[in-house]
């Protein structure tokens, strides 16, 4: 296998960072309280960032911090202080969207600079320009095919990062201001209201009309194309989703990590394992999947025709909060389940283990017939269970 690409996962919070790292992320990206694009996400306080970096580094993973809003002058005034902190705590790179931020980073610290997909870097000449400005890696626009990514990497001699999984903007990233003008929220500074997901009535000039979610994109899913990512020499494969829950962060990271491990050994993904990866990816809440523009320009098949997501096949029952070996696992419940339900423990490596919640007790050993989100319950011990393992339940 050629150089193994880095698996880069989203970390919307410190808990999600730990889950992504433990499930196999080579790197995670996260945001502080300002400067990013996900103002509704928990994001990290400075102390949490410090902890997150220490945790990730102790597991051999890197941490990239997003500064990828289109920053205004007043934002840049307070950025240097934050940059000094990032350098001090040894974050591995910052992800930026505009030249002003790049200049500010260069003047205030030596943290490597990655260009955000917000800047819509789509071609060789563009990558050359950003490189001349000090960018070490470009996160390519989602419109770029893997063939083009290879060319950009080789001709511009720059690291390339390509999205492999998650939600997609229908617009060129950074080129949508619907929220700015219709909701008074700057979509490019973290206030996107997802108006592209609405259902619209369309009256054509020709007199026809239709009703559809015509601006809504299907989700990206590229596990079958992983060998092509490797062949293209992509340096980092990126999973979208800082706003999504721990189930998503853990499951998606685990599948791509497993697939990368398989590729390292076998140089291809077997049909059996591909079927397994596909089936696992379906267990996470998602819109219909598409390969976007990875192979060829996304066409009409990439438009998502529903307003809401499909019914979930699985949901996360909880996160393992503690384990007392041979006695019980203590689960922090996220979605309710009943005593007697069949659950699945997702170990950090390897296949899920089914087990039955024969007993469900609270801390003072009272039986809980039905759990509720936000409580801790003791479940029968499962060999191999570890803190921060996810436990899920099949719904259909």
């Amino acid at each position: 296998m050629r150089t193994r690409p880095e698996l880069l996962s989203p970390a919307g919070s410190l808990d999600k960072l730990k889950i992504a790292v433990l499930y196999g992320a080579d790197a995670v990206y996260c945001g502080g309280q300002k400067f990013g694009l996900r103002m509704a996400s928990d994001n990290f306080t400075n102390e949490e960032l410090k902890e997150g970096v220490v945790f990730a580094h102790s597991h051999g993973s890197k941490v990239y911090v997003v500064l990828n809003g289109f920053l205004h002058d007043e934002d840049l005034e307070t950025l240097p202080e934050f940059l000094k902190l990032l350098e001090e705590i040894k974050v591995d790179a910052v992800i930026v969207s505009d030249l002003g931020t790049i200049e500010t980073v260069k003047s205030n610290c030596k943290v490597p600079i990655h260009l955000s997909t917000q800047a819509s870097c789509l071609n060789v000449e563009s990558a050359k320009l950003w490189k001349s400005k000090g960018v070490e890696r470009v996160v390519l626009g989602r419109e770029v095919t893997l063939t083009d990514a290879k060319e950009i990497k080789e001709k511009a001699e720059i690291e390339v990062e390509v999205f492999i999984h998650g939600s997609m903007c229908m617009a060129y990233s950074g080129n949508c201001t619907i929220s700015n003008y219709t909701q008074g929220r700057d979509s490019n500074r973290g206030g996107c209201a997802h108006s592209c997901r609405f259902e619209y009535s369309i009256d054509y000039a020709e007199g026809e009309n239709s009703k559809s979610t015509f601006m809504s994109s299907k989700d990206l899913e590229g596990v079958a194309l992983l060998p092509e990512f490797v062949a293209a020499g992509v340096d980092s494969i990126k999973v979208e989703g800082r706003m999504k829950g721990p189930h998503y962060a853990g499951t998606i990271t685990k599948i791509y990590a497993d697939a990368l491990r398989e590729l390292e050994v076998n140089e291809k993904l077997s049909p059996e394992s591909l079927a397994y990866y596909d089936s696992e990816l379906l267990k996470v809440t998602h819109r219909d999947y598409s390969s976007g523009s990875l192979s060829h320009a996304a066409g009409e098949e990439s438009i998502y025709s529903e307003r809401e997501h499909d019914d979930k096949e699985y949901e996360v029952s909880g996160v393992v909060a503690d384990v007392v070996a041979n006695e019980f696992i203590l689960l922090e419940v996220r979605h309710a389940f009943f005593v007697g339900d069949e659950l699945e423990l997702m170990p950090f490596v390897g296949k899920s283990q089914k087990f039955r919640a024969k007993t469900v007790l609270n801390f003072i050993n009272e039986t809980r017939e039905k759990t509720k989100p936000g409580e801790l319950v003791k479940l029968p011990w499962v060999p191999g269970a570890e803190k921060l393992n996810l436990v899920r339940r099949r719904l259909v």
Partner: protein, 389 residues
């Protein structure tokens, strides 16, 4: 301030003296309709009438399209072109290295600070003779920015507000009788529509699909024709009047207003315009003030005295606390302050402390999960702090 218009057959070049026109070949510009022959012909005609002609190359391009665009560009008769207007950083880089023309840098997307603009100007050195700024810049921001710039600035005086640009073809798919003679993506492909959603208070978003993808505009148009003196004082050098979607009658009123501004003239423009006219963010841009309402800051970690978070509450029996501050140790007898997600503050003295297995503890630290005595009114996700009260 010099007005700038888009060049087409419908513009009577003889009516203008020393005019400035943007020419839009279909292959290079988002809303262009001109083929190569027409591009060369119209630019020549404009030059012969004493006008300046600027070539619009504002599409965003993946590599395959970039190569095609360069091939097209090389066929244009550049002797009739005074400057090239570029937006994709790839096009900027290519033009800097492969042409000698002046460049008008379109910085309408993602350029909202002085340092970034300065960096662009340094990159282009003397080649950049104009920059085009986003209409998201407010007057007060422009007042601070413009005196610091070494390059003249163009601003949209009147025209449609582009909200959305995708290379995907989104409109054609909804037609029952799809285009049969033209393939989607062909040079002549052009579909117009209006969209509205029950989830948005705005109605009638103009939609356009052409060879470059799909575009959506705001139903209201941007108009600063009652602020012309203001714009001049701020330091705007060039005023773009986007006549591509204007009727002939409206354009005449707009030009009249720019030539001799008056309250009556502005009223006439408003009356003739089919779209409602707005000033957008010119007077103020507060599109970040709602951010603080997007999440509950009460459950955010404030680090002085922060200990952790409540994970479970069992009435009259216990609270479970997940310790999250490695610098702090929780001990029996400690006084804690609990801040709930709905804004309540409760106090607790730790009378007993147990680990998950139920063992009594005197202390806990690191990332321990511990159980302590209950206090009423506390809910899951409450933040736990050491109390000095």
């Amino acid at each position: 301030m010099s007005p700038i218009l888009y060049l087409s057959d419908s513009v009577d070049l003889k009516k203008f003296t020393n005019g400035e026109f943007i020419i839009e070949p279909s292959a290079l510009s988002r809303f262009g309709k001109l083929d190569l022959k027409k591009t060369n012909l119209l630019s020549k005609e404009a030059k012969e009438n004493g006008h300046k002609v600027y070539l619009e190359w504002d599409i965003l391009m993946v590599e395959k399209d970039f190569i095609k665009s360069v091939e097209f560009f090389k066929q244009i008769d550049l002797k009739n072109i005074d400057a090239i207007r570029v937006q994709d950083p790839g096009a900027i880089n290519w033009c800097l290295e492969n042409t000698t023309h002046d460049l008008h840098l379109n910085l309408e997307t993602g350029n909202h600070n002085y340092l970034g603009i300065k960096s662009w100007l340094e990159k282009g050195k003397s080649r950049i003779s104009r920059i085009v700024l986003s209409i998201e810049w407010s007057k007060s921001q422009l007042e601070e920015l413009l005196p610091r710039l070494s390059c003249p600035v163009e601003f949209l005086g009147m025209g449609r507000i582009l909200l959305f640009y995708t290379p995907r073809y989104l409109l054609n798919v909804g037609l029952s009788n799809r285009e049969s003679t033209l393939e989607v993506g062909d040079t002549g492909h052009w579909l117009e529509a209006a969209g509205q959603s029950e989830e948005s208070p705005h109605k009638g978003f103009p939609l356009l699909e052409n060879r470059h993808g799909t575009f959506m505009f705001l139903p209201s148009d941007h108009c600063l024709l009652d602020y012309l003196k203001d714009l001049k004082e701020v330091g705007i050098s060039y005023l773009r009047l986007d006549n591509r979607f204007m009727s002939k009658e409206l354009l005449e009123s707009v030009l009249e207003q720019v030539k001799a501004p008056s309250i009556e003239g502005f009223q006439r423009v408003k009356e003739i315009s089919e779209a409602r006219l707005i000033r957008g963010f010119y007077n103020t841009n507060k599109s970040d003030v709602l951010f603080k309402k997007l999440k509950n800051h009460r459950i955010q970690r404030r680090d002085e005295n922060y200990l952790g978070q409540i994970l479970d509450v069992n009435k009259k029996n216990y609270l479970a606390i997940k310790l999250k501050n490695p610098k702090k140790t929780l001990s029996l007898g400690d006084n804690l302050c609990l801040q709930t997600p709905d804004g309540k503050t409760k106090y607790l003295t730790v009378n007993w402390l147990k680990d998950c297995a139920g063992n009594d503890k005197d202390q806990a630290s690191g990332e321990d999960l511990v159980f302590v005595n209950h206090v009423g009114g506390v809910s899951v996700r409450a933040s736990v702090y050491f109390s000095h009260e």
